[in-house]
Symmetry: C2
Subunit: 524 residues, 2 copies
């Protein structure tokens, strides 16, 4: 072993110097294994001060979301007294009170399905910001058989996937509550999932259905007209990917039996601690600064999120949206083309050590790791050999991998939380929400819009419209994609793709197989 003096000047000193502890949460952020140079903090201090001021303005209610001209208020969700207007404060408090009340009513059976004494299962239909947070929290904090309601999710417009979820509910559908979540109220995947649910519920659907959406959206009107069980609000000033502490996240969690007040308290405590303008004391600011250091402020490296804890498996999927949709922008706030972003992937340790740590340690150095270290092992404390539990192994693998990466000059951040509980999950959500906002300021992009997601939807609408024309153009005479496309003035490639798709699903017939310019189809 090395002599004590060596450690005094080395990693230990750096660790002690740069460990940021949030005492109210027992949470810490360790940036000592990031290779930022001397003077890095000094150099970014002015930019960070601007980011803090921008965040302060946001929290005071400035309309920072320029492209959509709306406020950005997810931080008020866990501190309603900070909302800039009394009506916003009341709206938050009322929604939270209604979530608690509704969950209590479902739990005590005063809100119940027509033919059963209790709701026992929960079907959540949503996608993106209306699914990733609820799925992460349900998996992280679920208690299996002890859950008050057992959650199931439909997060896609895949009829086979929807059938699997419904089969998982099986004959308990008559005691299953169904929450449909869409901020805009017009998300196609969610609408389709709801229609599949209606198809199996039949007439009784409205007695099982709850909507979470903006007032007067298509979904809101439907729920009102059909007299659904309840409607909960979403607001302009909460982005989908920042909505986990709104009804979107709180209602499913409360129904499952998760302590949503502890989630809110954890997020609030993290917010409080990360409003600090002294950047060395601000865990969110340190994260943002490290992203800047690692990627040159240009997304040049990828963030590999590695929680050593099975329950945190879905955190990286949640972060993919929070980080990539917020930062992945073509233009900066001055309209210049910057093509920004920060790619995120990862599953869990030590499992991923056996998948790709080979590349992380030896291969291309295009990443930095964010380890998430959970102090309390949980489960059954089984000594697998003298003096060592399986949890000691898990912890040892984290430290060992962090060390093996550092030996090869691969960088990592380590976030430590005391245990996987509602308070810590709330804190992690708050921590990354703020880090994203601060980092967006550092690179001067708008973290709160998503102009690029419309293009794919519009192109898909065009495909679906073309499909109807293609169906109409089929006859009993064999026709090629070329021929139909010429008639319709359409792209033959898309026509060919549609013909293949229709034939595979019994709505066209492939009568002459062959390459795309040869294959011919008739109607069925």
């Amino acid at each position: 072993m090395a002599s004590q003096d060596q450690w005094k000047q080395g990693p230990w000193k750096r660790y002690c110097d740069f460990l940021c502890r949030v005492e109210s949460l027992g949470l810490s952020v360790d940036i000592s294994r990031m290779a930022f140079p001397k003077g890095f903090f000094a150099g970014r201090r002015a930019a960070m001060a601007r980011a803090f001021r921008a965040m302060d303005r946001l929290e005071r209610g400035a309309k920072a979301n320029r492209s959509e001209k709306r406020r950005v208020g997810h931080f008020w969700l866990r501190a309603p007294h900070l909302a800039p207007k009394a009506e916003i404060r009341r709206a938050i408090e009322e929604a939270q009170a209604r979530v608690r009340e509704f969950a209590a009513g479902v739990h005590d059976g005063s809100i119940r399905p027509p033919d059963k004494a209790r709701f026992t299962n929960l079907l959540v239909i949503g996608i993106g910001g209306s699914a990733l947070g609820p799925q992460f929290v349900a998996d992280a904090l679920g208690q299996g058989a002890a859950d008050r309601l057992h959650p199931h999710f439909v997060d896609n417009t895949d009829p086979d996937g929807i059938a699997r979820t419904l089969a998982g509910i099986g004959d308990r559908l008559d005691e299953t509550l169904c929450i449909v979540i869409s901020k805009s109220g017009g998300t196609a995947e969610t609408r389709n999932g709801m229609l599949h649910a209606k198809h199996v519920y039949g007439q009784r659907f409205r007695h099982h259905a709850v909507a979470i959406t903006k007032e007067d959206s298509a979904l809101d009107k439907l729920a009102r007209d059909e007299h659904w069980l309840a409607r909960f609000p979403m607001w302009d000033w909460v982005g989908g990917r920042f909505s986990e502490t709104s009804a979107v996240g709180l209602l499913p969690a409360a129904l499952q039996g998760i302590d949503v007040d502890a989630i809110l308290a954890g997020a609030a405590a993290c917010d409080e601690a990360t409003r600090n303008h002294r950047l060395e004391e601000n865990a969110a600011a340190l994260l943002a600064l490290m992203w800047y250091h690692a990627t040159g402020g240009r997304g040049r490296k990828q963030m590999v999120v590695l929680p050593y804890k099975d329950r945190l498996l879905l955190f990286s999927r949640y972060l993919q949206q929070l980080v990539m949709e917020s930062l992945g922008k073509e233009r900066d706030l001055r309209g210049r083309v910057v093509r920004q972003g920060l790619s995120v992937y990862g599953n869990k340790g030590s499992t991923d050590q056996h998948a790709y740590v080979q590349q992380l340690r030896d291969g291309i150095d295009n990443f930095f790791v964010v380890f998430i270290r959970v102090l309390q092992s949980g489960g059954t404390s089984l000594f697998v050999e003298e003096g060592a539990t399986s949890g000691d192994y898990l912890h040892g693998f984290l430290l060992g991998t962090r060390q093996a990466l550092a030996e090869n000059r691969r960088q990592s951040i380590t976030i430590t939380i005391p245990r996987v509980d509602a308070r810590s999950i709330g804190a992690l959500i708050g921590l990354f929400e703020r880090a994203v906002g601060l980092y967006a300021s550092l690179i001067n992009v708008n973290a709160y819009d998503q102009p690029g997601v419309e293009a794919g939807k519009k192109a898909a609408d065009a495909v679906l419209a073309l499909q109807k024309e293609v169906v109409g153009a089929l006859s009993d005479e064999p026709r090629t994609a070329d021929g139909i496309a010429a008639d319709l003035g359409a792209d033959p490639e898309t026509v060919f793709h549609l013909l293949e798709h229709l034939a595979a699903n019994g709505r066209a017939r492939l009568v002459r197989p062959g390459p795309p310019d040869v294959a011919a189809f008739t109607r069925t």
Copy 2:
């Protein structure tokens, strides 16, 4: 709409020219949306010819794995007649026959647990190459309640995660078969998982236990000495990440009720089709060439795998290991430092459109997409509006996103399969296994070793050894990490981490909270 002439010279011609169809599988690979320049194929033809020859040598039994001096024979698993020695052929055929026979015996009740008529559940304990393939296949091809045995997985040394899996089995443990998979027979996570299983099974464990491992490994000896129900072989010449068509993948799948002969046939048909040296007709070669084009042969872009099908959600996790552990190497075959790799992430569409397609379309152009298009929608064909099913939407979103990316010059490959079935899954596995091997030749790295994974394990062993010393150094006097580290001649940071971990798990007591160089601990 554009005039027909425009399409003739544009994307349609390119699509027809570059679509590679594997007719025996109904599979196609479309590289028309990759922006490789004219002359790219001509320029890589000689390198590709070398790669084909290297692959031919491998398949004929050359000891291509130089660092470990062993053969690489995963292709023989689905074509035993190609094995270079009769004893290898016999070993494969015998193992496959035993898998079929064992599964049939379990299904018909002739192999059964001591106190029940049938095994109904299956607990698979493994990690990395002993888990990712089985998990992917179980999820892709499982039939829910109709499964012959219901699979559960332990793939980590997380006591809480293990407890959750065991709780999911609940009181059906006495009808649960337990397969322990470790090629080396010495994987710590798997050993720990097995010990947790033994802990809950108690004395009856051996009547439920099956091992898949190399002959005479520690696991093999244990299973033999304890008279487990059965042992199945792994061989030196099958790498863990290439083992899905060995007993590792076949046994759990067969027990679940999946048609493993169709998996083998699909992989064999893909192998057959991709032995073709004419690269335009070789789907695996085209994938490898496109990786080369997209990344400059240096891993400069990431591969985003987007299957538009819920059942293929785990494919990207499987590919992370197959691709990154194979290609992520420090040195090339001549020993030069090259730091190679190809990063892989992705979940599923259209779900991921709502997570990060914003960044893919508008943000940093550091990726290429591999879309996986499944022709048959499956599930309940529900018309969600006139002329359009939810499956049409899924297909439309794929085409729309592909188009929206292309408009912004983001590149993509589209792999089409007819449906999610055992044959197509086998084909996808074979396709990527071969693409990885060919690409490794193109960049001159060894795809079949993993020298970098040992470092983390060694460092973890050192941490666990130190933990025992730290426990021994605790007393009733408050001690700091610094103090204990000085006594032990150890790194104070690791000592501090261990003290925090021990205190959180009731094996030390934090008596003076504070920063790392202040906090003091006693024994409990």
